[in-house]
């Protein structure tokens, strides 16, 4: 598209960069981020050695918060979620699901979304390329839908499985691994989120509103005045667990924590977005300004700098006691 000096238009994960991509800022971020991750990788190696599995521990939780190095991410994700154990105990299940007779409606629904998943990504855009991930994506979604009859397929799962594929694609049996990771996500980590009634996900939007009111009362009052309901903004955030929402490196860091600690992380991410944009939110004069602000904030520079974003999620936000979260969740359940 552009002529003259060609900068890298595709990022390390195969995503096409937008035409207004700020290379200067990204390079500055990477110059700062790469050494951090290299240091982390050394620390991880010391802990893991050449083990093919790790057990959950306080150290592992702390390490996950600081980021899993790219080379270890597939193994650590499989391990901390327990997907690896489930895969080993059910060695033929994926093939059975894949070769079963699939429901026609399910097949059609999924097929419709395959070419609409990351259409700008190099690994999804060209079906003639033998590295193209469209077929594996279809295989995983159809097998998940066949195994989980109630959930079947919820739009948004395509982006999650798609991103998992981009991370796992160089692994042995990567298709089967992503299947188990997805299966663990929808059944163990976020049970109910992908249920057809979408109740749980709406409850968590309301819950987010209550937590904003608790942590940032002035922001809550202002957003309320502008007529903004969280479910208008946050639905995609939660359904896609921030895939195709936040910048990719930030999403991966979020998933590192989500897989290690569970769903409360999603609330921390949403609160961090609020926390990092407080002044801008208060300056918004109307509904469309604040909606635009959130749409820009998730892709903007405050979100790109994943290290300080994660720091905000845990340090600046302060404590988010599970007892309180659960109590408020029960309260809001009655009004959704």
């Amino acid at each position: 598209m552009s002529s003259g000096l060609v900068q890298n238009d595709v990022d390390g994960y195969g995503f096409q960069r937008p035409s207004n991509f700020n290379h200067g800022e990204y390079d500055a971020f990477m110059a700062e981020y790469l050494p951090v991750m290299t240091r982390r990788a050394l620390r991880w190696e010391k802990v893991i050695g050449n083990a093919s599995r790790i057990n959950k521990s306080r150290t592992v939780k702390r390490f996950c918060r600081k980021g899993i190095p790219a080379s270890l991410r597939p193994m650590v994700w499989m391990s901390i979620t327990g997907a690896d154990v489930r895969m080993e105990s059910n060695p033929h299940l994926y093939q059975q699901m894949l070769s079963a007779n699939h429901d026609r409606e399910l097949t059609e629904t999924i097929e419709m979304d395959i070419h609409r998943t990351f259409p700008d990504n190099a690994y999804f855009s060209n079906p003639n390329d033998n590295k193209c991930l469209r077929k594996p994506l279809y295989n995983i979604l159809i097998s998940i839908g066949h195994r989980n009859k109630t959930i079947a397929y919820c739009q948004g799962m395509n982006f999650i499985a798609g991103l998992m594929l981009l991370i796992m694609k160089d692994e042995d049996k990567y298709e089967e691994k992503v299947f188990w990771l997805m299966d663990t996500l929808i059944n163990n980590i976020l049970p109910d989120y992908y249920h057809p009634d979408m109740h749980a996900i709406q409850v968590d939007q309301e819950l987010l509103g209550e937590l904003v009111k608790w942590k940032y009362p002035a922001i809550h009052t202002h957003l309320d005045h502008l007529g903004l309901q969280w479910c208008l903004i946050g639905m995609k955030w939660f359904i896609c667990i921030f895939a195709d929402v936040l910048p990719i490196d930030t999403v991966l860091r979020v998933w590192d924590c989500l897989f290690s600690e569970g769903p409360k992380i999603l609330l921390r991410v949403a609160l961090a977005i609020v926390c990092r944009n407080q002044e801008k939110i208060l300056k918004c004069k109307n509904f469309s300004e604040v909606t635009d602000l959130f749409q820009e904030a998730v892709v903007g520079s405050d979100s790109l700098h994943c290290h300080s974003f994660l720091k905000c999620m845990f340090e600046e936000l302060g404590s988010l006691p599970m007892a309180r979260v659960n109590r408020v969740r029960e309260e809001v359940k009655t009004r959704v």
Binding site: T109, C154, K236, D244, N286, F287
Partner: protein, 213 residues
């Protein structure tokens, strides 16, 4: 600079008022709701448009004689299970575009269900337009123009066949809606949720409209 493919943009300063309307797009998955909005707001078309999750929010402004009409557009997800979320987006909307795909009879049936729901549950004065999209694929047509037109007439809907790909009738359908919406003179503040045909404080809005400067 920008590739805005806005509707009619008569030159000259806007003397009159600025009205703001909430518009929602509804319809079956993959009929082209996001593509219609992308064409209208940015003048662009992507052969493979990402599936919309939840809903996307965009704004675009059109000019009608002495009135600037600002659309706040909610582009919703089409999958059936997102249906329960739809009232959240059409609540308080002054206009809706119900979209179907002319090459798929099922999507027309689904569009009728949406129209019924809007007539029953949305604001009583909502302006509803029916858009038969993918009109460029008329060799694969499964929904006859006359059939949809007849249905639209019976239900007092605006009706056009559109193509987000070729831009056919895209601006026109939004413009037709803008024409049909009541432009009330009652005052309103920009900080509030939009009221039907609210007239905004022009100082606040003039810089973001993008037309009629």
């Amino acid at each position: 600079m920008s590739q805005r493919g806005g509707a009619q943009r008569p030159n000259g300063a806007a003397q009159g008022k600025i009205c703001q309307f909430k518009l929602v797009l509804l319809g079956e998955s993959a009929v082209g709701k996001s593509s219609l909005v992308l064409r209208f707001v940015k003048g662009q078309f992507h052969e493979y448009q990402e599936s919309t999750i939840g809903a996307a929010f965009l704004t675009q402004t059109v000019c009608l004689d002495d009135t600037t009409v600002k659309f706040e557009i909610w582009d919703t997800a089409g999958q059936e299970r997102y249906h329960s979320l739809a009232p959240m987006y059409y609540r308080g909307a002054q206009a809706a575009i119900v979209v179907y795909d002319i090459t798929n009879q099922d999507t027309f049936g689904r569009a009728k269900t949406w129209v019924k729901e809007l007539q029953r549950q949305a604001s009583p004065n909502i302006v509803i337009a029916l858009a038969g999209n993918k009109a460029d694929l008329s060799n694969k047509r499964m929904v006859e123009y006359e059939e949809a037109q007849g249905y639209a007439e019976e239900n007092s809907l605006l009706f056009m066949e559109t193509s987000a790909k070729t831009a056919m009738n895209v601006n026109d359908i939004f413009l037709a809606i803008a024409k049909k919406l009541p432009k009330s003179d009652s005052g309103g503040q920009s900080g509030q949720r939009p009221q039907p045909g609210v007239r905004l404080n022009e100082q606040n809005q003039a810089s973001e409209g993008g037309c009629c400067k």
